[in-house]
């Protein structure tokens, strides 16, 4: 028998069976994970399309009673876009600089271990707590008004750890060879980071930022405590209550009429579309910046 002579044997039956079983389990897990996702998407699209029209996108809820048809989420769309924009403006620079410190400068020192620890703690902060914090600190203690900016601060607290962790991961993936190549050309460390390390990690960092944006765009609780609530358009993020899409959905879904429920579904659909659109834009930017675009 050749098997005896060479020591090479056919795959044993038990391994074949194990392979099959594990394969089946993996597919099953995949299906279980995907079914809720698809069903949510389908429900939102099916119920949201009814009111997904121009009026919805261009009108607020001002002077529209709970039972009235019509009305829209323009004020909430503006609010969400402004709040997420300002949250990103706060969280992305701080998060990115933190990650740069941790990877490039901290090198396992005491300070960087403490920062890492607090980032982990921040990851676990429930969203309502970040809202409470801004409410207590900004609105109650400093006497500032409810505003989109206050909401953005609460959201930025939630964004920051996500940005730090993902950027850190991406920066660690940049091969040390590249840093050394740059140093060997007589480039100072900070320029090496700005011109070599960050561009190399750029695509990954953008993806991480988008994940963070997607996470906070759907937050309701911190907004309730910081931007408060309104039915009118407020373009100024620094003064007065604003609306946000999650708040809008929460509000409309709590009303007893079908027209309001329809508006809630459409609000949810709009939120999903906004996040998807932002994602698409980020991917385009990443693709446009990547060397692959120039061909190889």
């Amino acid at each position: 028998m050749t098997t005896v002579q060479t020591g090479i044997q056919p795959i044993s039956t038990s391994r074949r069976v194990k392979d099959r079983v594990v394969q089946a389990l993996v597919y099953l897990a995949f299906a279980i994970a995907v079914v809720p996702l698809l069903s949510v998407l389908w429900l939102v699209v099916k119920n949201g399309l009814a009111r997904f029209d121009l009026e919805f996108l261009t009108h607020s809820m001002r002077n529209i009673g709970a039972r009235d048809a019509g009305g829209g989420a323009y004020h909430a769309i503006i609010g969400t876009l402004e709040q997420v924009l300002f949250a990103s403006l706060i969280a992305v620079p701080i998060g990115l600089l933190t990650a740069v410190y941790l990877v490039e400068y901290g090198s396992g020192g005491r300070l960087s271990r403490w920062i890492s620890f607090f980032v982990d703690v921040m990851t676990g902060v429930p969203s309502v707590v970040s809202g409470l914090f801004v409410l207590a600190f900004w609105v109650l203690a400093l006497g500032m008004p409810f505003s989109g900016f206050a909401g953005a601060m609460a959201l930025s607290i939630l964004m920051m750890p996500v940005v730090v962790r993902s950027a850190e991961e991406m920066l660690r993936l940049v091969p040390n060879d590249l840093r050394e190549a740059s140093y060997a050309l007589g480039v100072p460390k900070w320029r090496t980071i700005v011109k070599v390390v960050l561009p190399t990690a750029f695509t990954g960092i953008v993806t991480g930022v988008m994940l963070a944006v997607a996470r906070v765009a759907g937050e309701t609780a911190p907004l309730l405590l910081t931007v408060f609530f309104t039915d009118s358009i407020n373009n100024n993020p620094f003064n007065g209550p604003q609306m946000g899409l999650p708040l809008y959905v929460f509000d409309q879904a709590g009303r007893p009429t079908d027209t309001a429920i329809d508006r809630a579904w459409t609000g949810a659909l709009t939120l999903i579309l906004i996040v998807m659109l932002l994602n698409l834009v980020a991917r385009l930017i990443a693709w446009w910046r990547s060397p692959a675009k120039r061909g190889s």
Partner: protein, 258 residues
């Protein structure tokens, strides 16, 4: 352009581990000096002390003196960044910047250090690529990414990048170890022509290569595991390969160990 390097009583450490000890040598200008020796004897470490790249490794430090002409490279107010600008380096593995085009790779050292007009840059990029024997292969695709080149081309790109900043000394750590024989020959030719303008130091495991390209050869060895590496002897390459002064050198060159 080319300058002499004088090393005296140099020790290098990684944390508490002493990797090389008591190295004293003179590296002549406009010559090629080869470092040979068994794996782990500290050739790379020593090479990296010459342009202060050693201290980039966390916990690493250097004792002793390295002088470029009359200047102590480890003097208290010497900027390591300007040392590295003066003494360029090519690494064992080709490491072009993946986000940059071929042109930008060559221009990187200049761009990252100061302002140059487009026409100045064009001139330097072309002359550096010609100097690295790569111009003809890439002149039609300067805007393509550097990572799209073959391994040998990438290594020549890295050499072009290193000579674009006009260093006075060029250190090369096994520049051909990842390359095929044809690219290796191309780089050896390149080294021979570069030596007119630069002081060149090359680490190699290839005895024939050391014999072919170098004028001086230094042999390093270590007494045993965990011991620091030392310079055993340094002399004209022809002498080292035909009539070395030390028994260990002869044993190594003839392949009896290492």
């Amino acid at each position: 352009m080319a300058k002499q390097i004088e090393v005296s009583g140099l020790d290098a450490y990684y944390g508490a581990h002493k990797a090389i000890e008591g190295i004293t040598m003179t590296i002549e200008p406009r010559t090629v000096t080869a470092f040979i020796g068994p794996s782990g004897c500290g050739k790379s470490t020593f090479l990296r002390t010459l342009n202060r790249m050693h201290e980039v490794v966390p916990g690493a430090r250097v004792e002793g003196k390295v002088r470029l002409e009359d200047q102590d490279l480890y003097g208290p107010d010497v900027d390591p960044v300007s040392v590295r600008r003066t003494i360029g380096m090519v690494f064992q593995r080709p490491n072009p910047f993946p986000t940059m085009s071929i042109y930008d790779n060559v221009a990187a050292g200049l761009r990252l250090n100061g302002r140059f007009s487009r026409s100045e840059l064009d001139g330097i990029v072309e002359s550096s690529l010609k100097g690295a024997n790569l111009w003809n292969e890439v002149k039609d695709r300067l805007n393509k990414p550097g990572s799209g080149l073959s391994g040998g081309q990438q290594q020549r790109l890295c050499i072009a990048r290193a000579i674009a900043v006009r260093p006075q000394v060029l250190l090369m750590d096994e520049p051909c170890s990842a390359l095929d024989p044809i690219s290796t020959l191309a780089i050896e030719d390149l080294i021979s022509s570069l030596k007119q303008d630069y002081t060149i130091v090359i680490v190699t495991h290839n005895m024939q290569q050391a014999a072919r390209v170098s004028d001086k050869t230094a042999f390093f060895n270590l007494a045993g595991q965990g011991q620091p590496g030392k310079l055993i002897e340094m002399d004209d390459t022809s002498k080292i390969f035909t009539n070395p002064g030390q028994k260990a050198t002869e044993d190594y060159i003839t392949g009896r160990f290492g």
